[in-house]
Symmetry: none
Subunit: 196 residues, 4 copies
DNA sequence: AATGAATGAGGCTTCATTCAT
DNA sequence: GATGAATGAAGCCTCATTCAT
């Protein structure tokens, strides 16, 4: 069960190849720095073919974003231990994200890079909102139980998320190892940052 | 004495206007998403004028990067309390960065956005290296004194830096207030994340 | 079977039209005096179309040069009377060049105009070298048989070639008739110039 | 008495420097390949200064052309042996041109390169006409005396002129020595080409 | 006289997109 | 479905020329 066949293009070899190529190029050069012909070339298809699967370059980046965002949301939220202690919940979120980031660094980098970009459509933004609200609710409940610092929930969430991304980016760049061990260490830091 | 007259273009109104316009546009749309004519238009000059001051679009983004990076380095490192306790040093670094970020959010966002971009030249990269080594040394000394967690120094630094940026980005986007108070709260989290 | 379909672009109407238009304009205005959009306009295609067939303006001029140079080399060298007397060889070379120049004056003018230009690539230069060496060898052999003046072979060749071009240019400009008769007269002058 | 002070700019150091720089650049890159700022840079003056001396880029190239053309006309025609035998007259013309070409190759190359260019004005063209008519008359008289071949005078002149230029160009390119000896040898060829 | 900053048209080229095959 | 030739707008940059100093 490989991520690409399941996540990127369940219905066609060509569209899968296009999404794969787009992923690599968007991560390397950004949205505006990536040309549609270059995606076609890397995917081994003709430029016109891309427009059979995606209405536009924007539609392509949004399709990629939604595919991957849904995937990571599923990984993090499936069978989430809703009743467990906050400590375990935090470890679960962080660990599942770490697993995804270590296994699929390009995919994670893509999501991180295109966060809040102007060319993301409403549906893409809604996915982001969904997970943010999920996290914020967990935090609020924990704060009521006085397990977390009594700071604005968004501040705690953005802090922890930023820290995770900082570690990930350093790993991707090779400044630190991009491994589960790295994220495990970082997780302890993260917890101590936010706990009461 | 505002930041722009001192930092961006001490010697010319036109070049200052160009740097200002470029700053806004690069932050909003990224390097590849910003056209030179759009910079010229926003700066109120002709497109050709930009090439009297900057050899190319890349030269422009590098000039901007270096100007701003030197500025933030100066803010953080000037009269740094080298002999003070790590707790105070951390507060100093975080606080000075926060001050800059709150006063000059576009400038901070620009620096953050263009970190490690392929179009940065060697000199720009060297500036980044300089501050990273400064931070890494502080961390190592503190670890020898067992004040910080015995984790890889780069991990601690990237964690804290990522957390700062996460908070900043959320502030810039309006999800939390972009104020010194916000950063002060975050500073306490940051310290607890990394201390032994 | 006209020269353009056989020489300039055997495989595509568009590329043929582009080469035709480029030929005219390069002859009239030179390489730097000819804009790519003007070539496109004259060829009846969009500017971008030129770049489907030629990687750059330089690639276009080199393709044109090579096509035409190969053509004239073939005309002059095919079934060349290698064993014949020098007098006949000279008449053959001069006559074949004259035939080409009279039939295809633009093509000949183009080749003459772009000789030794800085934007010609190595392959284009190699074609020129080939024909120069062919001529120099003929001259050397004739000198050993004391049929030609005992002057540097290159001097004789450049003299005769220059004379041919002088006559051609005057013909192209309309100062003398651009006919085989003109070249036939000039051929006798040329022979008497170089014979022992 | 150096050619540049006398020929190029009798009235000003700056205009002399501009003409010198323009000469070099026009020879190397052609008219369209040479920018006015590059001429200014090479001449050591500001771009605007060029427009104090010359109304436009075209005016500059025409001034250069006329200066040099007048110079070579004076060299060839001054004290011309009008009553001498054709053989001596030919030797005189060829020899004086050779002297100029060897002493001032850039200048000669410039004149040759810009012959009949579209940006030459009427006055420049008139100078060329003048020398052509002078030569044609000499030839006609010699033909009446049956000293030269009974071919169209223009044909003989273009042949000989082309041969001279062919030898010169090869000399300039380094394929043969650019010396008086070279031209002396070529002169004998030239004479034998046209004599009856 | 001399400067050089400033202009904006135009040059080379790329690119998102379309469409006939 | 798939192609890739074709388009023309737009991007980066250069340049001839002007003008305030």
């Amino acid at each position: 069960m490989n991520i690409h066949s399941t996540v990127l293009a369940p219905d066609s070899d060509k569209s899968e190849a296009i999404l794969e190529a787009a992923l690599d190029l968007f991560v390397d050069r950004g949205f505006h720095g990536t040309s549609v012909p270059s995606v076609a070339h890397k995917a081994g298809v003709a430029a016109g073919t891309i427009y059979h699967y995606f209405a536009s370059k924007e539609a392509l980046v949004n399709a990629l974003y939604k595919n991957l965002k849904r995937q990571i949301i599923a990984r993090v939220m499936t069978d989430f231990p809703l009743g467990a202690p906050t400590r375990e919940q935090f470890r679960t979120v962080w660990g599942r994200m770490a697993e995804f980031a270590v296994k699929h660094p390009r995919e994670f980098a893509f999501l991180e890079l295109h966060h809040h970009s102007s060319y993301l459509d409403a549906e893409s933004v809604a996915l982001e909102t969904q997970i943010v609200e999920f996290g914020a609710n967990l935090i609020k409940e924990a704060q009521e139980a006085q397990v977390l610092k009594p700071l604005p929930p968004d501040l705690l969430m953005e802090f922890a998320n930023g820290a995770f991304i900082g570690v990930f980016r350093a790993g991707l760049a090779g400044r630190i190892p991009l491994t589960l061990e790295t994220f495990l260490s970082a997780e302890r830091c993260g917890w101590e940052a936010i706990r009461a």
